[in-house]
Amino acid sequence: MRIELVTEIAAPREAVWGAIADPSQWPQLIHGITRFDHAGGPATGAGARFTMRMRVGSADVGGLIEMVEWDEQCDLAWTSVLGIGQRGRWRLRDAGPSRTTVTLRFAYQSPGLLGWVADRVAAPVVRRNLESGLEEVRRRALRRSVVPPPRRSRGARA
């Protein structure tokens, strides 16, 4: 099952990357993620491993994943090592001055005929969870991209 979500955010790539590049924040980012523990390798970057679970229906499904691409402000991709077979990717591309196109791709596959059925039954929940993640990335990136106005000196008057 493959889910792809695309959106445009009025923030530079740097701000969007800042919102996604800390995997320890993903439980706060993506609804339904119940577990995201570092499980080996570097803390971030290619080779970092995490135990990840997402609540879908009656179970927290997922497994051990490994970051396989960590191209700053461009691509962040992971694949499963153990558990449910899955691949995911955050893809950031310029969409004009201070605007970024963000693509979130997620593919997963359970074994067997019942697995085929289960994947399709689970898809709306997984899609909703990913959509919530994309919206949270938008909020965080916009917050990051806002440059605070310079502070007025004490004596300054309007």
């Binding site: 009656s58 359970s110 039954v121």
Partner: protein, 278 residues
């Protein structure tokens, strides 16, 4: 006739080969369990984070639902999805269950072994998580209106085992299983009359109204469980020595563990508004 049938069953109880458990088989069957749990039983399993991340642990559950108990399958799904199928996990079941043609072989690949202290000890010494239902056939056959009652029938062996093996105990409390059929009576007198206790270690011969049979005596051919909502709650792990000191009185520990489980079950029952619907 019953004694000879008993000998036949006893002879067909497979020795507990813990290596019968097959992680690839479990992985392949998790989607089917997920569909059953999610669509049919709208199951909810909470508190898995209370189970120690690694090492042997004794998971102690209340048992519901007759011979088609959904609790075990749902908990197996939740455990395997949370920790991964690679973590060793065994469930103890009545001799008759692991001896059923077809189903018995399937359950053994899921890690089910015949309930006995020796089998549990071997699994724990192998570093596995072991799920036991001390109430066994006694509790699983209680009338549906006693759904929110923990009833281990005074069986304390699981605590002696945990103390001897020095493993933590995690209570696993579930509700909803007793609504998968209308259980009317344990049928203890009938079981005694037929000498099932001596022949098959069965203290009960449950009488229920269950699909597709209607009146169902014994539940030997199992039944189709009604789609009751199942909720399972894992409680914080109990280190028996830390909580009760070295060489604690087993009776005191039993009272305390059962009281904790009863309190949790009462809370779960209070959350339910309607039978079946949850």
């Amino acid at each position: 006739m019953i004694p000879s049938l008993a000998r036949l069953v006893q002879g067909s109880v497979p020795t507990a080969d813990l290596d019968d458990r097959d992680p690839d088989y479990i992985r392949d069957n998790l989607p089917g369990l997920w569909l059953l749990a999610t669509i049919w039983h709208r199951a909810e399993v909470r508190g898995l984070e209370h189970i120690p991340e690694q090492g042997p642990v004794l998971l102690v559950g209340n048992h519901s639902g007759g011979n088609a108990s959904p609790d075990t399958l749902i908990f197996t799904l939740a455990f395997s999805a949370w920790f991964g199928v690679e973590r060793r996990f065994h469930q103890l079941a009545h001799n008759l269950v692991v001896s059923y043609p077809g189903i018995g072989a399937m359950l053994r690949r899921f890690g089910t072994v015949a309930a006995s202290p020796e089998n549990a000890r071997r699994a724990l010494r192998g570093g596995a998580a072991v799920l036991v239902y001390p109430g066994g056939d006694w509790e699983v056959s209680r009338p549906s209106w006693q759904s929110a009652r923990i009833d281990f029938g005074g069986r304390r062996g699981f605590l002696r085992l945990a103390l001897e093996e020095k493993v933590p105990v995690v209570p696993v409390v579930s509700i909803g299983g007793q609504e998968t059929a209308l259980f009317l009576s344990r049928g203890e007198r009938l079981a005694r009359l037929l000498r099932l206790d001596r022949a098959f270690r069965l203290k009960t011969l449950p009488i229920s109204l269950a699909a597709p049979w209607g009146l169902n005596v014994g539940d030997l051919l199992s039944h189709i469980p009604l789609p009751a909502k199942i909720t399972i709650q894992c409680l914080p792990a109990i280190d028996l020595e830390e909580w009760f000191g070295p060489n604690p009185n087993v009776d005191d520990v039993y009272e305390s563990v059962v009281a904790q489980m009863q309190e949790a079950l009462t809370r779960l029952a209070a959350e339910r508004r309607f039978p079946l619907v949850g």
